[in-house]
Every structure is written in C-alpha cells, then in structure tokens.
C-alpha cells in the first residue's frame, strides 16, 4: 500500500483526442479559408470643387473608347470609328491599339522614355500614350463590366509579357521585382473610367 501511494498515477490520455476534435471543429466553423482575389484598380482622385476643371485634352488618336450598354453589348474603337465587337475580340483590338506595331498615324503616339535597368544600364522604350476609356450606363450589369475589365487587363498583361520576353527573355511573373517595375512603367495600365452616361429618354 505504501509503495502505491508514492507512485504518481498516470493521467488517462484517452480523452485527449476528444478535446483536440472539439478545438478542430471550433476552428472549422469559426474561420474561412478563401483568400480574396480581385482586379486591383486605382480610382482617379476627385478634382477640387472650387478649382475649375480643365478638360484634359486627349488627342483622338490616343483614345480608345469602350462602351458597354445595358444588355452587355460592347462597342469599341477610336472616337468616330466605334463598332460593335464581341468580347473575345476586345483583347486583340486593345493590344493592337496600345502597341501600334506599324506606327500608324491614326493609332496612338509613342514617347521614347529612358529607364534605368537594375544592372545599371539604360534602356529606351517607346511608351504608348494610348488611353483606354471605359464607359458604362447605369443599367449595365456588373458581370459584363468585370468581364470587359478582365479582357483589358489581359491585353495589358500580354503586352507586358511580350515586352518582358523581348527585353529580359522571360515572362513577367518570373522576373525580379526591379525588372518587373521597369516593365510596368514601360507599359502602364492606362484605363480611365468615366462616370456613367445618363440616357435621356
């Protein structure tokens, strides 16, 4: 009897699993797993009200209008030359507009800009001054709007990939951060979102 008392009794660990299960179920219920993904954009700052708003003149050749109507139809093109197009054609049209591969006088101008490369050398790239202007009506659906935004983003990311491939011999995603910054500056994401048009009936 005396020897028994000195011995520390072993704690029964049989219910440890139940405790762990309880904790597990609590975390399953109280947490979410989905990481949020989305299309990141910068809104233009609002102009001060007392200041007279000067119309920012954009040359017609530098402007690419994309209009989405209430039934999700897309009209795109440069001012005066807009036409109905399908969503799947939008990406290539945007790319053609931004890149202006043949230096067409009707397509956007290019401005030679010098960039400092991470290895210390300079790199001159003709930066397109084209601006994509996206306009919607108040009854445009959000889904078509996001699809168009997505196509525009896709056009720009494909251009960036091509430029990165030519300059650094690799896709944008596998470049270093400095190289990526250079490419992002060389091909800026120029999407302007105008306020929706009010349709007069």
């Amino acid at each position: 009897m005396a020897t028994d008392k000195r011995k520390v009794q072993e704690i029964n660990a049989g219910s440890m699993a139940d405790i762990a299960f309880l904790l597990l179920i609590f975390f399953l219920v109280a947490t979410t797993m989905n990481t949020d993904t989305g299309l990141a954009r910068m809104l233009p700052p609002i102009p001060p009200e007392d200041q007279k708003q000067e119309e920012i003149k954009v040359k017609e050749r530098n402007l690419f209008l994309v209009l989405i109507n209430g039934s999700g139809q897309i009209m795109a093109g440069q001012p005066g030359k807009q036409e109905f197009i399908e969503l799947r054609d939008l990406k290539d049209k945007t790319k053609e507009f931004v890149l202006n591969p043949l230096d067409d006088a009707d397509l956007p101008e290019k401005e030679e800009k010098e960039f400092d490369l991470p290895d210390g050398s300079k790199w001159v790239y003709p930066v397109s001054s084209g601006v994509v202007s996206l306009q919607t009506t108040r009854d445009t659906g959000y889904q078509p709007y996001i699809m168009v935004q997505n196509e525009l983003a896709r056009a720009f990311s494909e251009i960036r990939d091509e430029v990165a491939m030519r300059k650094f011999g690799d896709k944008l995603a596998s470049l270093t951060e400095e190289q990526r910054n250079v490419i992002t500056k060389a091909v800026p994401l120029k999407i302007s979102e105008a306020e929706p048009r009010t349709i007069k009936k």
């Binding site: 699993a17 990481t35 949020d36 889904q143 935004q149 997505n150 896709r154």
Partner: protein, 156 residues
Amino acid sequence: MAVMKKKGNKSLPPISTASLPDVIFMILFFFMVSTTMRDQELLVRYKLPEATEVQKLEKKSLVSYIHIGQPSLAMQAKFGTAPRIQLNDSYKTTKDILDFVAAERDKLSEADRASMTICLKADGTTKMGIVTDVKQELRRANALKISYAASKSLGY
C-alpha cells in the same frame, strides 16, 4: 513448422489509439495556420463575377469590405430584393460610405493609411449604377485603391 495454425477463438488485439490525438492536433494546426477568422456576418447574397486576371489581396488587415447584393433570404421579408450596400454589420446607403472610410482609416496606423484597400464585393447581377455611386463616394472619401472582387476562373 512455419505454418501458423489458425486460432478461431482468439479475437484481434485492439488498435492502439494513442497517436490519434497527435493526428487530430496536426489537422488542427493546419487549419489554424491556413485559415482566417470569419469577421462579419453577411446580410447580402452575392455570387462574385469570374475573371482570369485576378490578383490576391496582399494584406488582410489593410482591406475593408463593401458588400453589394440582394438581402439574404432571412432579410428579404423585411427589406425586399432590391440590391443593398452592407458596411460592417448593417445595411447602409451610399451617404454612409464617407464615415465608413474615415472610421476604417482611423483603425490603421499612420504609415499604413496610404495603402488601405477597399474590396468591392458585388453580385454579378448588380447594375453598374449602384456600383458607380459607391465608386464616386470612395473617390470623394479619397480611398482610391480598390479591388473588384472576382473569383478565379480558368477562362471562358
């Protein structure tokens, strides 16, 4: 000699469950690390639009959410089915966005305020009218970094 004799009467020895807690703890730690706390209850229903060019939202603590969509089923009897804006835990109008952004900005430290992001979670069937109103209010509140929430799809 080597052939074992079948002993029909003897039952199998019980499987040791001593390592069961360890296994469960492993799963528990996996969930603790890979998930985040659910922070607010949704009062609106939405099915996010799909896109291929989505980016991950970097820092959760810098992100504030604006939900837009139909009231959830339990709320529809009271609030109807017209799309609503949810800020924090209640339905709000576009006029409250200014205060909301100011409050959210106050929660962040001085250094982080510039990188505050507003995540717009809107239902795919919402009309652009309400979304544009929200965007205008955000411009007025000087919260210019936004993200249109969309789920990743592999293409159309």
